[in-house]
Symmetry: C2
Subunit: 413 residues, 2 copies
């Protein structure tokens, strides 16, 4: 059996070729992979049916099975995703900055691939294709480790994509799938410093926690979103209702959904009852002031303030002033997205300046923190850490830079 | 005794004030600290004398004592350093990118401080002042942990700087010094995820190794420099000699010194003897071809090719062509600085494109990879990692970004 380190070295080797591959070559490889994915749809769906059957026999929950299940239309989306990424601008080679020093040295900061990007993910087999597409377009080899539940699907997809890359003249090891899905291999994977330039986990809190505890490779964390919507005394309350309803209910299961409502006391009497009315089917928990205004709100516990519900639940807090709002948001923020609704410029300025999060919204739904919505074309995740990348991660966030310094014989005195 | 976590929380608290402090306030604080450093020079030098005496009594090597020892002129340099940093442009608030989406959302990517920057360092007490200056200017709190050997000096410097900050109206906890210099505290320090936003180790290989093994906080590594100078067949050999002598001998003990010479065989007969002649006092070790040309070159071992000598030693390799040069450099590069001497444009282009390092030089000394030389005004180190920052790290590299998104009620459909 091929060892993990041998697999990693294959990816490393391929990354050297990818780093200098032209955009044309990479785009052709993505196109070829998309073609083959559709041509071999039957084989992929057959492999997927195995995974689904195994999961159902094992008594997996319906949501788990749903994440696992592919269909002709899901495959078509995956293929379209690869073509979509091919159509985006290539970040590699971009000159980020350039200047000339007094001694004539010309310094350029140039965007280059990271090398080997590792993705560790859970049951969604489409990640195999989506992540590989973004990695290859940005000149990186994709070193992928999915879950055991999706192994047959992932193997089938990886085989097809690798064939596509090879057909277009890129190394097939531009995508290397780890088939050993044991716990021990996950831990080893997270510690392959010689091979992995950046690890991006895609999955729930337990996966993230495992990366935080075990990883010794550099990583970017796509963490929780306990997103607040603060309704200032100066807010347009109609707009605030619209943003609240959109943030809470348009897709409650995602990280940029609104989880907590913070209301300035000057508008609480007017706003809280409207919020309750506008959110039928949403369970509201709140502090005493909110509950005095709208007794249907249940009491919130300390735990509620820090919670990412990912469900039709909303916490409600009434604050005395903007300072208290910022203090509350800062205390419980997960650093993802925080929003203010305000007409007062100074309030908006203070909120955007003092709240420390990947994205701070003024008069817009928290749901906009997203690579597509930001115009990146595609995203590999949303970073909630501060190093390297923060917020939606597109192709640029899968690169690093290199200084190219050109002289004519300069030496240091 | 104050616990490590209490100290960290003080720094965290101070970081919130620093993040929104004006450039004027930060510059005034750095000026006040510089003034006090000179006013209290006697007290600092007295504390330093204790450290020096203790080190000498303990039989420390002369180089160790030299790193530890302060003088009136070293203190003056430290004060000048603080003023120099104050005079640099403030990176905080810089709008790195901005655009408007089709739905009217205005997206700005704004530079903001990291928060708490932790520095773990060895015997140089000037780091206490230099690092604090860079952290404060970039809006971060400095959480510092020096060595036990320099404790009295660091404590005296930190006290003076903290007084200066407070005098100018900034929180004194903008600089927090850890006085527990036990091994256990170092390990705990590297794992304070709740407090530390970025850890930068300043020291030798054993410190770096300890960070790689123990740290769970995000960090930026300032690693080894096994820097190569490749002399292409197309090189101006006079220029190559000048760059070689400068890279190897101008300051052999630093990370951007040239450690290895790689020569194209077409110019080896002409160049290698000139290199030997130009480097009196330098021990040369080389491969068989180099030794046939210049028998005074000693045989190199496999270990030599990967070695950062930091001394008057140079390894010499003769290669068959550009491909072999790139392969050799890639294999043994520490990812710091690699240089080519060439007149041929295609050779220079291939080298800069294919060699994966923080800086790639064309016809310039490897010694130029440096914050001052790049025009950053000051540097906190030179990153040899790919995530977050790569190459010389100035004030900008001590920041992250935040997306500020402004709308007028946009919701997602």
């Amino acid at each position: 059996m091929t060892t993990l380190i041998q697999l990693g070295q294959r990816a490393k080797q391929a990354s050297r070729a990818l780093a200098v591959a032209s955009s044309e070559a990479k785009d052709a490889a993505l196109g070829a992979a998309a073609d083959l994915l559709l041509q071999h749809a039957d084989a992929v769906l057959e492999a997927n049916a195995e995974d689904v059957e195994r999961a159902q026999d094992g008594g997996a929950a319906a949501t788990v099975v749903d994440r696992l299940r592919l269909s002709a239309s899901r495959l078509a989306s995956m293929a379209a995703g690869l073509r979509g990424v091919a159509s985006l601008a290539d970040p590699v080679g971009e000159v980020v900055a350039g200047w000339v020093r007094p001694n004539g040295l010309r310094i350029e900061k140039v965007r280059v691939p990271l090398g080997v990007v590792a993705i560790i993910y859970e049951n969604r087999p489409n990640v195999t294709s989506d992540a590989a597409g973004l990695c290859i377009k940005s000149g990186n080899a994709a070193f992928l480790r999915g879950s055991s539940a999706a192994l047959a699907s992932n193997r089938a997809i990886a085989t097809v994509l690798r064939d596509g890359f090879a057909k277009a003249g890129l190394p097939e090891d531009a995508l290397v799938l780890v088939e050993d899905t044991s716990y021990g291999s996950a831990r080893e994977f997270m510690r392959m410093r010689e091979v992995i330039d950046c690890l991006i986990p895609r999955g729930g809190p337990s996966l993230i926690q495992s990366v935080l505890e075990n990883a010794t490779v550099p990583y970017v964390i796509d963490g929780d979103g306990n997103c607040h919507l603060y309704v200032d005394a100066s807010a347009d309350l109609d707009m605030a209702i619209s943003l609240l309803v959109n943030g809470k209910t348009q897709r409650p299961s995602v990280c940029n959904a609104t989880e907590s409502l913070v209301v300035h006391r000057d508008v609480a009497d007017a706003f809280v009852p409207r919020a309750v009315e506008a959110l039928p089917g949403v369970r509201l928990v709140g502090d005493e002031v909110a509950r005095r205004i709208s007794p249907s709100i249940e009491p919130a516990t300390e735990e509620d303030w820090g919670k990412e519900y990912l469900d039709l639940v909303l916490s409600v807090r009434v604050v005395d002033d903007l300072d208290a709002a910022i203090t509350h948001v800062q205390r419980y923020s997960s650093g993802h997205t925080e929003a203010i609704v305000a007409r007062d410029l100074a309030a908006a300025q203070r909120f955007t300046r003092e709240v420390d999060a990947a994205a701070v919204m003024v008069n817009a739904s928290t749901r906009f923190t997203d690579g597509e919505q930001f115009g990146f074309g595609a995203e590999i995740g949303i970073s909630t850490q501060k190093l390297h990348a923060r917020g939606p991660m597109g192709l640029r966030e899968l690169t690093t830079t290199k200084y190219v310094v050109t002289g004519n014989g300069q030496i240091r005195g």
